[in-house]
């Protein structure tokens, strides 16, 4: 009885220490991995030291195989869970990137193209410059703080479109995502934030130029 308490007690202390070594905020995987390594080492030592004390050869072999299977199966299961979790997080992040980058492109280009269409239309009655045409057309969406509050992104709190420049001959719309990281972490974004994904769309009579700026 004393021996089992000593073994179990040692196992709990070693595993517990390993569990609490990594940071205790956010993901619990670092703690689970550290304690799993500790517990597998404990099981191997337990098998090596205690199994030879079992006199029945058949029973000893059966127990050895069972515990080996338990360690290997659990390690494989843990690895599948870990890889799956990582992939899931990466996939969600990728989906968010795809959605935000394409939504940004759509809501910058579409109003610009509609303005370009109106500008080149044979039925055009006034002779406004392309910049003025855009402002007239989308005046209700432009806020005092230069936001281009397109209906399509009003529920998207992580994507903002700014009317960065509006003059007679050109319009510049800038999109900024608070979710997607930009390529350059030191990049100064239009909003004052740093290192976030940003794109720029320029409308002129020659068409729409759209590029990722960070």
């Amino acid at each position: 009885m004393k021996k089992i308490i000593l073994w179990v007690g040692t196992g709990i202390v070693v595993t517990g220490v390993a569990f609490f070594i990594p940071s205790q905020t956010g993901s619990i995987w670092p703690s689970v991995i550290a304690s799993s390594i500790a517990v597998f080492v404990y099981l191997i030592v337990l098998m090596v030291v205690m199994l030879p004390k079992i006199t029945s050869g058949t029973k000893r072999k059966m127990m050895g195989w069972t515990l080996s299977l338990l360690i290997i199966g659990s390690a494989v299961s843990a690895a599948i869970s870990y890889v799956s979790t990582q992939r899931q997080a990466d996939t969600l992040s990728e989906i968010r990137y795809t959605i935000d980058s394409k939504v940004a492109e759509l809501y910058v280009k579409k109003p610009m193209l509609k303005t370009l269409r109106a500008y080149h239309s044979e039925d055009r009655v006034d002779d406004s410059a392309i910049g003025s045409l855009f402002v007239q057309k989308y005046d209700s969406l432009i806020t005092k703080d230069s936001l281009f509050a397109h209906e399509g992104i009003k529920d998207n709190k992580m994507l903002t479109i700014y009317l960065a420049k509006a003059n007679q001959d050109s319009i510049v719309l800038i999109t900024e995502s608070s979710y997607i990281d930009g390529k350059n972490a030191d990049y100064q974004n239009f909003s004052g934030a740093r290192g976030q994904y940003q794109t720029k769309g320029i409308l002129t009579t020659n068409g729409v130029h759209y590029e990722r700026t960070n």
Binding site: I28, T66, S77
Partner: protein
């Protein structure tokens, strides 16, 4: 050989059968009878996965990386490791050693409570570690095959959107000359792993762009716009005089 020893040898499987029955009863109860609180898994890696999945979803929806402590999940994970990988196997081995030292009991089932607890705990982990892992590996394979198909569809959809918008732009700049429009003349560079086909009628401003993926999905008999069969296909209608672009369901073969 005494009568008692003979009986003991004949029924030596009985304690194992009892332990196996208890294990199955517990496993079935956990799987089907909701004996555990919602979202509780006894295995530490499933707990860790659950927490990270929740964090990833939260980050996806509000953009903030959740750095909570998740103490409840942490204690469950540590408790699971201690119970199933320290207490269970230790009790099993030590009670087996002790039972060997004892004289043969008259009651074959009398292996001691410790032996039953240890054996059931080890059997539960074994059930999880062998058939459970096989099922998990199968689900893993299917899930990621399906995720790869969705990724391909997203990439094609993104390329089609860019190409459709640019086709409309070219249409306005060319004063509506549809015959001059061609995918090769676009500035946007679509993913070259996929094929894009433009279908147009020079008398009509509405054009159709097909994006064809390199994987087989949906209907195996589906005829793709590039002559292939059964491949993924998404369709974008480009209407420069109308809504500019619109994804349509006609002539698509999606996952």
């Amino acid at each position: 050989m005494s009568e008692q020893t003979k009986q003991s040898d004949t029924y030596s499987w009985l304690p194992w059968a009892v332990a196996a029955s208890v294990t199955i009863l517990i496993a079935v109860s956990m799987a089907f009878l909701d004996v555990l609180p919602e979202n509780i898994s006894l295995m530490p890696w499933d707990r860790a996965s659950g927490v990270d999945t929740m964090r990833a979803i939260n980050e996806f929806s509000d953009g903030n990386i959740d750095m909570g402590n998740y103490w409840n999940a942490r204690w469950w994970a540590l408790g699971g490791i201690i119970l199933f990988f320290i207490i269970g196997p230790s009790m099993w081995i030590f009670t087996e050693i002790n039972n060997e030292k004892k004289p043969e009991p008259s009651d074959v089932l009398n292996k001691g409570l410790g032996w039953y607890v240890g054996t059931v705990l080890v059997a539960l982990v074994l059930l999880y570690a062998v058939p459970g892992t096989a099922v998990k590996a199968y689900i893993f394979q299917n899930t990621w095959e399906s995720a790869d198909k969705s990724r391909t569809a997203d990439q094609i959809r993104g390329d089609l959107l860019t190409m459709g918008l640019e086709l409309s732009e070219q249409y306005y700049l060319s004063d509506g000359k549809v015959e001059t429009l061609n995918l090769k003349h676009l500035n946007s560079k679509p993913n070259d792993a996929y094929t894009y086909v433009l279908e147009k009628d020079n008398q009509d401003s509405v054009m159709t762009v097909y994006g064809i993926g390199n994987i087989e999905v949906g209907n195996p008999e589906f005829k793709n716009a590039n002559g292939q069969k059964g491949k993924m296909q998404l369709t974008l209608e480009v209407d420069p005089d109308g809504e500019i672009i619109q994804f349509v369901n006609e002539n698509t073969n999606k996952p």
